[in-house]
Symmetry: C2
Subunit: 288 residues, 2 copies
DNA sequence: TCCATTGAATGGGTGATCCATTTAACAATC
DNA sequence: GATTGTTAAATGGATCACCCATTCAATGGA
């Protein structure tokens, strides 16, 4: 589409065929001769159909980030559904990070740039629902981080190393001034930068998703007990040096021992390590 | 909650405080003395608030899988919003895999068991939106698979190995009878079983999410060109043997060389490897 | 005992209507 | 002429009042 301008009726590119609330087929009268598999009836609801069609246009490349969908009233009419139903679909797509809805004239539903942090929410829901455990998440994090360190060793560029260097300096400032919670923020950012240094956004996404929850635990721990990792910035410098020298063995070893000491710190007071504490309300700086 | 029964007014456990469309605070009259940062106004919309509250109850453990929310009409009234708005929120949560909405008397909104395949959709959206590339995804898959093989070597149980064995037998059947597309389905399942053999659902989730798209490419390739991996079942048997012997070196090497040959097959005809082909309509057996 | 009927509960969907925000165009003022 | 209000239209946000389709327990007749 890419109808960045033209306020009204942007070309009406291809009037979407109206959603038909397809009645469930009656299995062609009573006499079904060869009915091998009765797949569960998937009662198609209007909003599902709408979501699917928009995603289809996306996959086909007809819609691209920055494009604008027609106004709700128009699109609803084109699809032959009520505005309310259309909005349910748009809402879902907005929550999925595909759309951004903007009010006012010149507003509308815009296709978003993909938001790599969407995976975090999935992970959080899985944890809330008890589908995955904190133990599994921690273990996964250790392994993913090992992979990330190896890839970062291989692929980190000058700019990545500089960003990590700057992050360590901020960590030192925060340490010197006793701003413990800011230091946790620095840690969060450190792992994000490290993930980015792999040069692979998929890996980075995975890494971020397993790190986000972990950092919540650290935040909760630090903010409740006031304890803090000893010699953090120093260890970070050692690690960064190994990374700069592309010394995989050293870098992975440093990271592993650091993770272990963090884990020990977290497990000092297992009672406070409630899942609910970490998942509950969003801390400042954490809302993205 | 856990009000599995009691059709009407299930205890009315704790009437949620009504959603107040909090007007943006006027920064306490005009005179803001020390206004350091003007974070962008995040116009809270009713449905966001609702989603957050339900997720909060989930994180707090007040709501658990199997629980039922009050009927839409009741809940809307309790929250002080219209039914339409409430439905937007419920729709979003349903798409996120948190809820299942069921019609009819005794129907309602039920908290679901977590659906580990939710990450696949995120990955698909990221690809559709061009945020990640097929190259990044393939590369990530290679690395994740390497990790999975190592973990499976360490943790696979008898049942896991048996399931893989059974899968290989189905692969042999399909090969013998020339059912190429079924064989692709077997491959999809093989990787799922392998992921499960790690004993870590987080790792398995990650593995599945990077594998799903890949298998679409394979499916598209096989179904269009009719070519098929040579000696697939044989290679699978070799690999399974290594896995059974906990021979990490051998298992990872076998997997790596196999991946390389698959990659060569896929890249034979790069023109056909369109992203859109793979992302477009859902193939039978792939819809979950 | 079994099966058909019925009716209430519940999600699915519609249409009309209003509000709030945003922006461009325009007018008024300095 | 530049700045500053004013206005009006477009658009998403939200409400209300309905109606339909599905499901299932209760009812009642064969």
């Amino acid at each position: 589409m890419s109808t960045k301008s033209s306020p009204r009726a942007p070309g009406r590119p291809r009037s979407p065929s109206p959603i038909r609330r397809e009645r469930i087929p009656d299995h062609r009268a009573a006499g079904t001769p060869a009915a091998p598999k009765f797949r569960p009836i998937h009662t198609r609801r209007a909003f599902e159909e709408i979501c699917e069609r928009i995603r289809e246009q996306l996959a086909l490349g007809v819609l691209k980030p920055g494009d604008k969908l027609p106004p709700e009233r128009d699109l609803a009419q084109q699809l032959g559904v009520s505005r309310n139903v259309l909005r349910e679909a748009l809402r879902s797509l907005e929550m999925a990070g595909v759309l951004r809805l903007q009010k006012g004239v010149k507003g509308g539903a815009f296709i978003q740039e993909g938001d790599t942090s969407r995976m975090n929410g999935v992970m959080r829901d899985m944890l809330s629902l008890g589908t995955i455990s904190v133990r599994e998440l921690s273990e996964a994090r250790v392994h993913v981080l090992d992979l990330v360190v190896r890839l970062a060793c291989a692929n980190a560029r000058r700019a990545d190393l500089d960003a990590l260097e700057a992050n360590i300096e901020r960590t030192e400032d925060a340490t010197r001034e006793g701003r413990l919670l800011d230091r946790v923020e620095c840690s969060r950012e450190f792992y994000k930068l490290l993930a980015a240094a792999t040069g692979n956004k998929v890996i980075a996404m995975i890494m971020d998703s397993v790190t986000e929850i972990h950092m919540r635990f650290v935040y909760a721990k630090v903010s409740s007990s006031g304890v803090a990792m000893a010699r953090l910035a120093e260890k970070r410098r050692q690690f960064l040096a190994a990374l700069g020298e592309r010394n995989v063995t050293s870098a992975t070893r440093l990271m592993r021992t650091h993770l272990e000491s963090v884990q020990r710190m977290l497990e000092q007071d297992p009672g406070a390590m409630s899942l609910h504490v970490a998942l509950a309300e969003v801390q400042p700086g954490l809302r993205r």
